[in-house]
Amino acid sequence: MAYAGSERADGPAGVPVAIKILIAGGFGVGKTTLVGSVTEIRPLRTEEPLSEPGTHLDNIHGAERKTTTTVALDFGRITIRDNLVIYLFGTPGQERFWFMWDELARGALGAIVLADTRRLADCFPSVDYFERRDMPFIVAVNCFDGARRYRADDVRSALDLDPEVPVVMCDARQPASGRDVLIALVEHALELLAGRAAPVPAQ
């Protein structure tokens, strides 16, 4: 049983570490497939009150706001060891759910932008989003059956990516491939974090 070890989570020495990774990309590009290939997917519902500018909100009388919207997210968990867990969140693909992204992105280690070369433009908004927020991300090209193969460099130039952003090919259905994509992201994030810490010369 894992319980004895897990009790360390209460102690000051074993503060649990939770790492958040986002899976982004256009609608239908395979985000759910990717999350599902590396972990068991659990649907996560949010019923978000939509606040409209200028709407006066008053909950004193227990009155529910009329405008709520339900968003379903793909959510998965990978336990590395006791007190070290990766959480994967598939971002909602439709643009009307953009308001969810800021919450999902907060404190995330980084993001995987899944791309389909038949509809490359679908991942522009995701790439823009993570570039603007200076969040580590990689582009993973989901190689669908029958899709024309492109070289990573072609995808990079089509997306106008900075040279340091990794572009990897993957098959989102294959667990080993999904895992490699995750590894590529964590390694990229590690490099960026190390680079940012670099100005202090090591002894």
Binding site: Y3, S6, A9, D10, V15, P16, V17, A18, I19, K20, V38, R42, P43, L44, R45, T46, E47, E48, P49, N59, H61, G62, A63, E64, R65, T68, T70, F75, R77, I78, I80, R81, N83, L84, V85, I86, Y87, F89, E103, L104, R106, G107, A108, L109, G110, P175, R179, L182, I183, V186, E187, A189, L190, L193, A194, R196
Partner: protein, 124 residues
């Protein structure tokens, strides 16, 4: 023959009890914000008052006997995140749970943790 009242209460209509009825209409949790991956742990030995809390509060306490993230709890209870955040904040107000806020990646105490993540993924 189904009455007109039954006819629209199909699956598409969603839960018959509106989720925020559980929170008595409250749509915002109290106190510090709760990240999706904040880890919630029930405080051992705390004595919740059954007359003060709803069954869902006890469900949350049961699920976080070992540290569980806000997202885990919401998925396990199949309740919307907003509702679960309010339930958790109720428990926090009553000092029945402890919350570990996630450490932002840039402030991870030790880059070796990310190396460990890479090694752990390779072993999958």
């Amino acid at each position: 023959m189904p009455s007109p009242r039954d006819s629209w209460l199909d699956e598409e209509a969603g839960p018959v009890v509106r989720p925020y009825a559980l929170t008595r209409g409250r749509t915002r949790p109290t106190g510090e914000s709760l990240d999706l991956i904040a880890l919630v742990t029930a405080i051992r030995g705390a004595r919740p008052d059954p007359f003060d809390l709803d069954p869902e509060h006890f469900e949350v306490l049961r699920l976080c006997r070992l540290p569980a993230s806000v997202a885990d709890i919401a998925a396990d209870l199949d309740l919307p995140l907003g509702v679960v955040r309010i339930l958790i904040s109720d428990l926090r107000d009553r000092s029945l749970i402890r919350i570990h806020h996630p450490i932002p990646p840039a402030r991870l105490p030790d880059p070796r943790i990310l190396r460990e993540v890479v090694d752990g993924l390779r072993r999958l």
